[in-house]
């Protein structure tokens, strides 16, 4: 067998899996496996090949598969869209549990505002269904084909409306969970047959184990069904889309929805405005957005991006911006919120950015609904990675942002990454209890040793955090990184390891690389 070609499962084990799902829903053909061993831009190395791909159709089938995996020490990775590196095998003797067939929306409860879904339900399926009912939930910026359950429960991503909602995984309510050993556990009110509405108790809550800060990425079994909380939605019931790909226009009613983009002379002023807006509890979305990412999302090709970027417009106007989207029930409410907003902006020294930039967003309000165009960042030679990805108080996170040049300047000076030092985002959660920071850095795959850039970049960033005592880097799922970061986060790695050992004694559920 050549490099990257799988050692297939022994026949009797394959047969056991096949007996569970039927022959149509399992394969160890090399061309089927090929779709799960292609390195993504965030992979540090080429993934191992899976030994088989299995498509379970029910919780019972998942349970049976997990038990077989335990019996034969076969590792398994539950996945849906596989767009993150953790969804690809990091060692041999691994099977992929592709959850696509489990794709039902069981219920959308309008009265108690929650939806019950299976892993295969995508954002492009659930979001419009809840919008029709005047409801919403924050959609992680993973593209429309991303799994809702994954975003909510096991691999939480960020969204553009954190401010009036929260981090995506704080929407997790009751759920059904196959432990790494194959036992079925119902969590929250569901455990007492009291329905899906509550994530905790009575008794100790286990929600934190599953969702953690970002989730376990399949490292603690398989979540097969969840309820997620829903918010009210002040926007249109259907997307008011005009035009054709990639130049869609999605505009909202101007008498109740208004978008502002301000620029500030310093990051401190952005921070002050962000805090004050949260204190006033106005607005639907508030964020300091990336500028290079914004330029990529506003253009339709890499060449178009370069034309815009080389003009310097986005560097000048969006170096320290604050996006504020007001969504209201009435024009009177809008007038009130706008009036409060202007008071804050005038006090903090903000001014409007060029109207041409604001209009880009007014024409593409899907930015606040589903974030389908973020993948445009991949156009630049396909090297990109998010950095930091953690949260703390708003003032703390702005300190983190101000320290970015300490590690990034070196990479820019050497031409290793795109010269975009302001390409980071800060989003407050829950009207400002805390804030999330995310830096996107881009590098070109054509430069020598490009594969090493993300690791070295992250290392330098981490050193800066440790030097300053910043809580800014999302604890990663790599042993070496966990050990370095652990002391900053109450030695979480010790706890994480013990929990893993207790729940997954055979180390079969997507073990750490």
């Amino acid at each position: 067998m050549g490099k990257g070609i799988a050692m297939r499962l022994p026949k009797h084990i394959y047969k056991e899996f096949e007996n569970v799902v039927g022959p149509e829903y399992i394969s160890d053909r090399e061309y089927i496996l090929a779709a799960h061993r292609h390195p993504t831009t965030m992979s540090m190395r080429k993934p191992a090949s899976p030994d088989a791909v299995i498509l379970p159709g029910s919780t019972e089938e998942v349970q049976a598969i997990v038990r077989i995996c335990n019996r034969y020490s076969i590792k398994f990775i539950p996945t849906v869209s596989s767009c993150i590196a953790m969804a690809l095998p990091n060692q041999p003797e691994t099977v992929i549990l592709h959850m696509k067939r489990m794709n039902k929306i069981h219920e959308i409860n309008e009265e108690d505002r929650y939806a019950i879904i299976e892993p295969g339900v995508r954002h492009c399926q659930l979001k419009p269904e809840v919008m029709k009912r005047g409801l919403s939930y924050p959609v992680a910026a993973v593209g429309t084909g991303g799994s809702v359950l994954t975003s909510i429960a096991t691999a939480s991503g960020e969204n553009h409306v954190h401010y009036s909602s929260s981090k995506t995984n704080r929407y997790l309510l009751g759920f059904e969970w196959i432990l790494p050993t194959g036992e079925l556990l119902r969590v929250g009110s569901l455990a007492n047959e009291a329905g899906w509405f509550c994530p905790d108790g009575p008794g100790p809550s286990l929600r934190g184990l599953v969702k953690g800060y970002v989730g376990h990425y399949g490292g603690l079994g398989v979540v097969t069904k969840i309820a997620l909380g829903l918010d009210t939605w002040k926007g249109p019931e259907v997307m008011p889309t005009e035009g054709h790909s990639p130049s869609y226009k999605v505009r909202f009613a101007q008498d109740r929805h208004k978008l502002f983009i301000f620029k500030f002379p310093t990051l401190d002023k952005v921070r002050d405005a962000m805090i004050e807006i949260g204190r006033a509890e106005i607005g639907y979305a508030v964020l300091k957005y990336f500028n290079a990412t914004a330029a990529l999302m506003a253009t339709e090709s890499a060449n178009d991006f370069w034309e815009l970027w080389n003009s310097g417009l986005f560097q000048k106007e969006l170096a320290r911006p604050l996006y504020v989207y007001l969504a209201t029930w009435s024009s009177e409410e809008l007038a009130y919120e706008e009036s409060v907003l202007w008071d804050i902006i005038n006090e903090t020294g903000g001014e409007r950015v060029k109207e041409s930039i604001r209009l880009i967003y007014e024409d593409n309000m899907d930015f606040f609904v589903v974030v389908g165009t973020l993948q445009r960042v991949l156009r630049l030679g396909c090297g990109w990675a998010p950095n930091k990805l953690s949260a703390d108080s708003i003032p703390h996170i702005f300190k983190v942002a101000k320290a970015i040049p300490e590690f990034m300047d070196e990479f820019i000076e050497k031409g290793l990454v795109l010269n975009a030092p302001d390409n980071f985002m800060i989003i407050p959660w829950e009207y400002g209890h805390l804030a999330h920071i995310e830096q996107l850095y881009l590098w070109d795959q054509n430069i020598d040793e490009f594969g090493k850039i993300p690791m070295v970049f992250m290392q330098r960033s981490l050193e800066t955090d440790i030097r300053h005592g910043h809580h800014a880097t999302m604890p990663p799922r790599y042993k070496t990184m966990m050990e370095k970061l652990g002391p900053l986060y109450s030695n979480y790695h010790v706890w994480a390891t013990k929990i893993k050992e207790a729940f997954d004694p055979n180390m079969v559920s997507n073990p750490l690389p």
Partner: protein, 416 residues
């Protein structure tokens, strides 16, 4: 012609985002009908998708994957509908469909492809200039003497194999409409050979090129400046494949565009009330895949910069409005849209040589689309491609559905 090596950038760029499988965000409407890729919808494995096929292409190119049992069938199950390509290009600078087509060409070059049924296409074309092996001298059997042809015209109606031999009513309707609108045109008679679509899309490039060369020579010889088609496959092939081989010195129009122009200019008036609720199906090669191909040879420099700039085919300027404008102009017609429409339209299942090699899957795909059409409450599916017609009618018959299918030209003629 391009080879797989020309698409390494595409292969390496894929990050499994899933956009090649799911409807675009601005077009999302609900849980049902959210998948855009027929093979992924039917077979579920990621290998059955644009992403999977370009992963396979890369491994084959790099020698990591060998031809094994089932691989050729896998590669040829795709209908080459291009939904993956257009969805991907809404956010990326990648060529997913071209990679799939070149992958098929590699299979043929390596002596592994195409499917046996597709080899028959080439054999028939060689002997009788059409993919069915029907007598070449019967290609214009449908043409009646009352049709006014202008032998000196610079406009040619290119009929296509499927229409000529199996759906001659579309041809009859088309020429009557052209006559009614006062268009001076001719047909190519024995000079018309297959456009090459079935060969191109099954990777039989050498045989397809011979057809292109013949047809281009024939158009040139007769001084043709405008080619009108009533078949979406022919239309998309003239605009998407021919420019890869030679410069296109003529304009290509689909009959729906011609009718749209005639209505606008007052040359055609649709006055009879048809009183029906219809939904329009966008054929892949008339909709998202119909933009003119502009050859690009260059270098992808640092940070994705294409030098010289490349003209992308992102499906933005497909023929979406012309057929809808025509339908709206027919009295009594209520046009309702399916969830997946325009560049997000779900394939009818008839593309890429699938119906002859995988008839059950072709039928499944058409049935899915018919189901979607029925969900609109429409009583009629309208489209303008004989391949779509064939597949839809089979699905409607197989499922004993009450919904009907009509070619757009048929409705126009009835309304005249």
């Amino acid at each position: 012609m391009d080879t797989l090596k020309d698409y390494v950038y595409t292969m390496e760029s894929c990050n499994h985002c899933g956009q090649c499988k799911w409807i675009l965000g601005p077009k999302m409407k609900g849980w049902k009908y959210a998948e855009v890729c027929p093979i992924h919808a039917r077979y579920h494995f990621d290998a059955y998708s644009g992403q999977g096929l370009i992963n396979i292409a890369q491994e084959l190119l790099e020698g990591e994957l060998k031809y094994e049992d089932g691989l050729i069938e896998h590669i040829y199950t795709c209908t080459t509908c291009g939904a993956c390509d257009i969805n991907c290009k809404s956010i990326r600078d990648m060529e997913v469909l071209d990679t799939i087509l070149v992958l098929r060409a590699k299979c043929v070059e390596d002596g592994r492809g195409p499917m046996p049924e597709h080899k028959e296409f080439a054999r028939h074309v060689e002997s009788s200039h059409n993919i069915y092996g029907r007598a070449h001298n019967e290609r214009f059997k449908w043409l009646s003497k009352d049709v006014r042809l202008s032998e000196g015209a610079r406009v040619a109606y290119f009929v296509g194999c499927n229409t000529s031999y199996f759906y001659p009513d579309i041809a009859r309707n088309t020429v009557k409409i052209l006559n009614a609108g006062g268009m001076e045109f001719k047909v190519m008679h024995s000079e018309e050979y297959c456009c090459g679509a079935p060969l191109w899309r099954t990777g039989q490039i050498e045989a397809a090129m011979k057809l292109v060369e013949h047809n281009l020579e024939a158009f040139k010889g007769q001084g043709i400046k405008t080619v009108i088609t009533s078949c979406a496959e022919c239309y998309g092939t003239f605009r998407g494949f021919y420019p890869r081989i030679a410069e296109l010195n003529f304009e290509v129009l689909h009959i729906t565009e011609v009718i749209q122009g005639m209505l606008k200019d007052g040359k055609l008036k649709l006055s009879k009330n048809l009183n029906m609720k219809v939904t329009y199906h966008d054929p892949c090669l008339l909709g998202r895949l119909s933009e003119l191909y502009v050859p690009w040879k260059g270098e992808i420099k640092a940070f994705g910069y294409h030098e010289p700039p490349k003209q992308w085919r992102r499906g933005t300027n497909g023929v979406y409005e012309a057929p809808r404008d025509v339908l709206r102009a027919i009295p009594g017609i209520e046009l309702v849209e399916m969830t997946r429409n325009e560049e997000n339209a779900f394939c009818c299942g008839a593309g890429g040589g699938v119906p002859v090699a995988f008839p059950n899957f072709a039928l499944w795909t058409a049935s899915e689309r018919v189901d979607e059409a029925k969900s609109t409450g429409a009583e009629v599916i309208v489209s303008c491609c004989p391949f779509c017609e064939s597949n839809f009618k089979q699905a409607i018959n197989a499922n004993r559905d009450t919904i009907r299918y009509h070619d757009l030209t048929e409705l126009v003629l009835k309304a005249l």
